[in-house]
């Protein structure tokens, strides 16, 4: 079943309600120094703060040891999986970095531990119960945490990640750069039937098992489609696409590219963690005004 995605009439009200819930809760940040992960270049903390529910969240927060700051900051939004790495050694040397683990991911998994597969359809019959309502709120709360930190230069915050990074950029305009690789929520209901690969296969599994719920699933996903947030993204954006043979080809993502309100630079993935990794690192360096880029030894030269 191919279902088109439409912006729900109460889209703004839905997200305003989420914002209201967040506003009623203090960030209540706690930082615990992590000697094991800290090194000569950066100090790493376990950051804990409160999301809606209330729900206590975890993130890796690192601060360069070189200088007093405030530092240009990279906020890494989480991917689809239970583990989020400690930020990379090279990245931590120059930037303050937050790597969030949203509710359900390890260290943010009490009381709710996400299933993989399973997370993508948890509570999906109703926008009010869909797990991604809380997950997006967690991402927003991570930004609130950063904006509360003296180590962070609030005028220089870049977001990196998948669809969650784009949604966060839309709802937290303090972010002034976005490096985004859509992979999960973009036109998900209509694209899922074209693949058998997880995580989108979770949607196929669900509609196969509960065909009478397909319309409800699509309706819920409409609230989370990056396409419907794009006109609120006014910051500079690097949008990563697949190539012409890929599922998320430039053509498939063109509506998203066209809808972003700020300046957009498209980038076709090389399907190489080396070449794509260098591209992202250099893009961040350029954005923050550095003439050089810190790279792993294997990526130099």
């Amino acid at each position: 079943m191919i279902l088109s995605s439409e912006r729900p009439a109460d889209f703004d009200a839905y997200w305003s309600a989420v914002e209201d819930e967040l506003a009623e809760l203090p960030v209540a940040a706690e930082l615990t120094h992590l000697p094991l992960q800290s090194n000569e270049h950066s100090t790493v903390y376990a950051a804990r703060f409160t999301g809606i529910g209330p729900y206590r969240l975890f993130g890796w927060f690192s601060v360069p040891t070189n200088g007093d700051g405030p530092f240009p900051t990279v906020y890494q939004l989480p991917g689809y999986g239970s583990v989020v790495h400690v930020p990379a050694y090279e990245l931590r040397q120059r930037y303050a970095v937050l790597a969030l683990r949203h509710r359900g991911q390890r260290l943010s998994d009490k009381p709710y531990a996400a299933s993989y597969p399973g997370l993508l359809t948890d509570g999906i019959d109703d926008p009010a119960t869909y797990i991604y309502r809380g997950i997006v709120a967690d991402c927003l709360r991570g930004m609130d945490f950063l904006l509360s930190r003296p180590e962070v230069d609030a005028s220089r915050i870049a977001l990196t990640g998948n669809d969650l990074a784009l949604i966060t950029a839309a709802l937290r305009p303090q972010a002034n750069a976005l490096h985004c690789s859509p992979s999960l929520l973009y036109n998900a209901a209509s694209l899922a039937p074209k693949t058998s690969a997880y995580p989108l296969e979770e949607l196929n599994d669900y509609t196969r098992a509960y065909p009478d719920r397909a319309a409800a699933l699509a309706h819920t996903l409409d609230y989370f489609n990056p396409l419907h947030f794009a006109d609120q993204v006014r910051c500079k954006t690097l949008l990563v696409t697949g190539n012409d043979r890929d599922f998320l080809s430039p053509a498939v993502l063109q509506p998203l590219t066209d809808s972003l309100a700020g300046p957009v630079t498209p980038y076709v993935s090389a399907h190489s963690s080396y070449r794509d990794g260098v591209q992202q690192a250099e893009w961040l360096s350029s954005h923050f005004g550095y003439s050089d880029t810190l790279l792993p030894a294997q990526w130099q030269g």
């Binding site: 999986g81 399907h271 190489s272 990794g277 294997q298 990526w299």
Partner: protein, 317 residues
Amino acid sequence: MPRPNPADYGTSVTKPADFDDFWAAIEAQAAAIPLNATITPVHLRSTPDVEVFEVHYDSLDGLRIAGWYCLPRQRSGPLPTIVVFPGYVSEPTLPKNLAAQGYAAFGAAPRGKLRSNAQYNPGYPGLLVHNILDRNTYGYRGFYVDALRVIDFLDAQPEIDSQRIGVTGGSQGGALTLLAAAMRPQIAAAAAGAPYLAGMMDAAVLTHTTPYEELVEYLRLYPEREQQVRETLAYFDIHNFVERIRCPIIVHIGLQDDVCPAETGYAVYERIGTEQKKLYAYDGYGHDSNGYGHGAVIDAFFREHLGQQLAGSPTSI
């Protein structure tokens, strides 16, 4: 200064004199534990073409281990089979796509992975250095056994052709692929990518990227423990297993791999025992090791060595 040729790096790994005895004792201990396997249909994940099951079995230390098991609905036993081992942080694969091609397929979830973490959960980061001071308590001791027992489980299934089992995976999955090929001689073919857990102490010098950075961090905090760490890791370094491999095997690495440096990939490949081996070293690729382009090579390799399923009457378990 240009980077030295990673193929020339070599290795500092040494094999303990009692390595074989150590693992023979563990294998004997594991063999005394019945699998007590349960196979539960998962209707939500099944399709008109593929049946999905969740498997649980017993392993060392009283742990219950999970895995995904997928079978083509149209099948005539015995089936060629592919085991997919997981990476360090990735979730276990649910290999429906392989079953749709006619293979039985198993997505392994050794201890600590989701659904196998109720009793043991060192976390990520954490697993690489968990209880590392003693080879008898090191986390990978049980983890390796959990992976090997996937093959033992498959051997016991009537729908499986135990002479046509292939193993594959990338990174940690690549390491477990090499381990299984070395320790289970019935493995017919193996395809490993960017193998992790090979040349571990060398990698900790060559890279600052996780997971190997866990070793660097640990030894920064406890430098006096380096010798103990080295001694433990020698019993688990994949280098010391691979000379046993006799099945056809392909290995792919990325020359710009910042996670499992190419130096360690070359070194472990050199030590693989079989002459039926081939290395694909991709320039311009990192830890992905050109998985995007190399998938077709792996598909063809397994078609050649495991053969295609013959048409026939459906069977069920």
